[in-house]
Symmetry: C2
Subunit: 406 residues, 2 copies
């Protein structure tokens, strides 16, 4: 297995485009991902009661369409809280793609991200679709353009890809994502598109994706707000030529492992690029009775504003970590907890059996000053572990969000 420097166009038969259509003021705002042959489609979506029009559409496509072949995305406007007009506009966006590519409307996934409550400028979008289809290309550059076109407050495009073998067939998974604000467990204005040339049944593709997000995108928190638009989509077009995976055999496990590497990479990129973030914070909880306990504890820590501001200030305020564990809802013995921090600068045990060690604050601050910091909590109750990713809470987070719409 080898990570490669590519994105949604890495796998055989996938093309992409990213353009400026005129929804945003200046930056690219529409993207298209296209499979030259019909592909199996699967998706996971926001758990928010308030679901944007494209989310409702994609849930139906995932349920009912035998195959999908394209994903059209726009940034700038979320098409959420837009009523029936929003649904109609969303369908028009899908229809425009279907017509230009000569595929069924039901084979088109849609995704939108941006401001809630505004209607899409639908004629601009329809014109944009024509340009997108004309711009479709193979290769890394096209994938990059698409990844850039879905950014909102992201500061860089997020791509990842991996290559591995199943039997004698070379399989590729590629992907792009956007994140930044509103990122929280249970998915957040995170859009992600994954493409693979693997041959796999639709049922197993969905199961692999659903299981995958629990350990990757749902373990990322930037600000605990779960958005109306979160969608992670995957298209598998089978062009790698492997024997179709139809049961949970060794090949399936290999695919899941590779998928996990791509999505973990994208998830960490999202966390590190959280709005206003200066560093990636990784939290590992080890020694838990169950994975659920470890996951809930690590998410509680990563979501605490007080932990996040302390990390921003390079302050080893471990009491806030214990405190966040304490209100996680997980039962554990505070007097058993060991806490460590580590970064490329070094590592340090801050707490042993629930009480401070005589660590050096100076060394702790040095370790925390890295742009990638890991906190490890050992609760000594079992062998389960989980990892969550987040970022620090900074002045810039406040600045970006106090003034997002203007």
């Amino acid at each position: 297995m080898m990570m490669i420097n590519s994105g949604v166009t890495a796998a055989k038969g996938f093309q992409a485009a990213g353009i400026y259509a005129g929804i945003k003021k200046k930056r690219k705002d529409m993207a298209l991902v296209y499979s030259q042959v019909p592909a199996k489609g699967a998706g996971t979506f926001t758990t928010n009661m308030v679901k944007a029009a494209p989310v409702k559409w994609d849930i139906q496509v995932t349920k009912e369409s035998p195959f999908v072949q394209a994903v059209v995305l726009n940034s700038g406007i979320a098409n959420a809280c837009t009523g029936m007009e929003g649904d109609i506009n969303n369908e028009r966006m899908a229809k425009a793609v279907a017509k230009a590519l000569n595929i069924p409307t039901e084979a088109v996934y849609t995704a939108s991200t941006g401001i809630i409550g505004k209607q899409l400028p639908i004629t601009t979008i329809e014109e944009g679709v024509l340009t997108l289809v004309k711009s479709l290309k193979d290769g890394n550059e096209a994938g990059k353009l698409a990844a850039e076109a879905i950014m909102t407050t992201d500061t860089y495009a997020k791509e990842a890809a991996i290559r591995f073998m199943i039997g004698d067939k070379k399989i590729t998974i590629g992907g792009m994502a956007k994140g930044s604000g509103m990122i929280h467990p249970n998915m957040a204005t995170m859009l992600g598109v994954l493409t693979t040339d693997l041959a796999i049944s639709k049922e197993l593709l969905q199961e692999a994706l659903s299981e995958n997000v629990k350990h990757t995108f749902n373990m990322v928190s930037v600000d605990r707000d779960t958005s109306t638009n979160d969608s992670l989509l995957i298209l598998a077009n089978g062009l790698a030529g492997n024997e179709e995976i139809t049961e949970k055999n060794e090949d399936y496990e290999t695919f899941c492992k590779a998928l996990n590497m791509v999505t973990t990479d994208l998830a960490k990129q999202m966390a590190a690029d959280g709005e206003g973030a200066t560093k990636l914070l990784e939290v590992k909880v080890i020694g838990a009775k169950t994975w659920e306990d470890a996951a809930n504890l690590s998410k509680s820590i990563i979501s605490s504003n007080l932990v996040k501001t302390a990390v921003f200030g390079n302050d080893a305020n471990w009491g806030r970590i214990l405190c966040a564990m304490g209100y996680s809802g997980v039962v554990f013995d505070p007097d058993q907890v060991d806490l460590y921090i580590e970064s490329e600068i070094g590592n340090l045990k801050l707490v042993e059996d629930g009480m401070a060690t005589d660590y050096s604050e100076e060394v702790a601050t040095k370790i925390l000053s890295s742009n990638q910091v890991t906190a490890i909590a050992d609760i000594k109750a079992g062998t389960a572990t989980a990892t969550a990713w987040g970022c620090d809470l900074t002045y810039d987070y406040v600045k970006i969000n106090a003034d997002y719409r203007s």
Copy 2:
């Protein structure tokens, strides 16, 4: 019923003191509240798994002591995550008070707030207790000194008091609180001491307090972090001379109503003085099926970082409110929601049936620029309502918490 300008010394037979003992660098750091006669005691405490030494002590006192007569408090150090030494120090603090006042140790409540994981400077505290006891006084000034001595990052002392009649007896309830950071539903580093001269059974005093916090302190959120030290204590010494309340009669209802006015006042003061806050945000959810639904929705809105930053920026970003409602876990119809904002400047309907009205952004910004803003969400599913209080999320919140310990 009339709110009066006083605090913990408002009710008959209560004295207080607040001094600088030497725990903090400069500001007052110890307080004492004393009832000249034995009083019934009740309390509600943090739900955090990690409980500070004084919290464990107070829970036991509440359960086992037939009466209480004093509350000793310190700020600067929380005496949390301090192991057995912390428990011993806490007991020494209580013992010092008991000895100086010649009352049983079990009649002394303790409370600490400040940094987690540091041991109390116990000899400094024991000396402080002697000074405190010598400084005990009747009257508003003494109450104010106590309220000041429990502040941490609070910017002003929080006091409230009310006077009302039960039969021909004049009853008084007074109180003080500290809040600021780590404030969240289920109590946060919030300390509160309430005093009353009412005669009431211990059981009903506890029940009234437990029911009360659900609607007051537990409806306040500053940053969703629930602390290790939260405690709300009440002492009722019976000196008003009313017939002891031993059942849920009209007198009990009158007391609950008065208690609610005092605690709501303190809760709002706490919310408005949230770390770095520039304004008080009040969220009312109306038209809910149950109080629980309304409470969960309003707490979800008040806790959203994205809502809080938008309010800081005077931005009527109502999409974030709907979004926060959507992930509250409450089932409702987003297409039925009406949203309003109001302040002393005016009021405005932003959303009708889940979609934006054609309101003026300029007017909305003006309304939001007040230092006390209310958002109202009508979900049109029933008649239940709930109110939550919080504040905006600002640069100063980040500043205060990135650098709390230094």
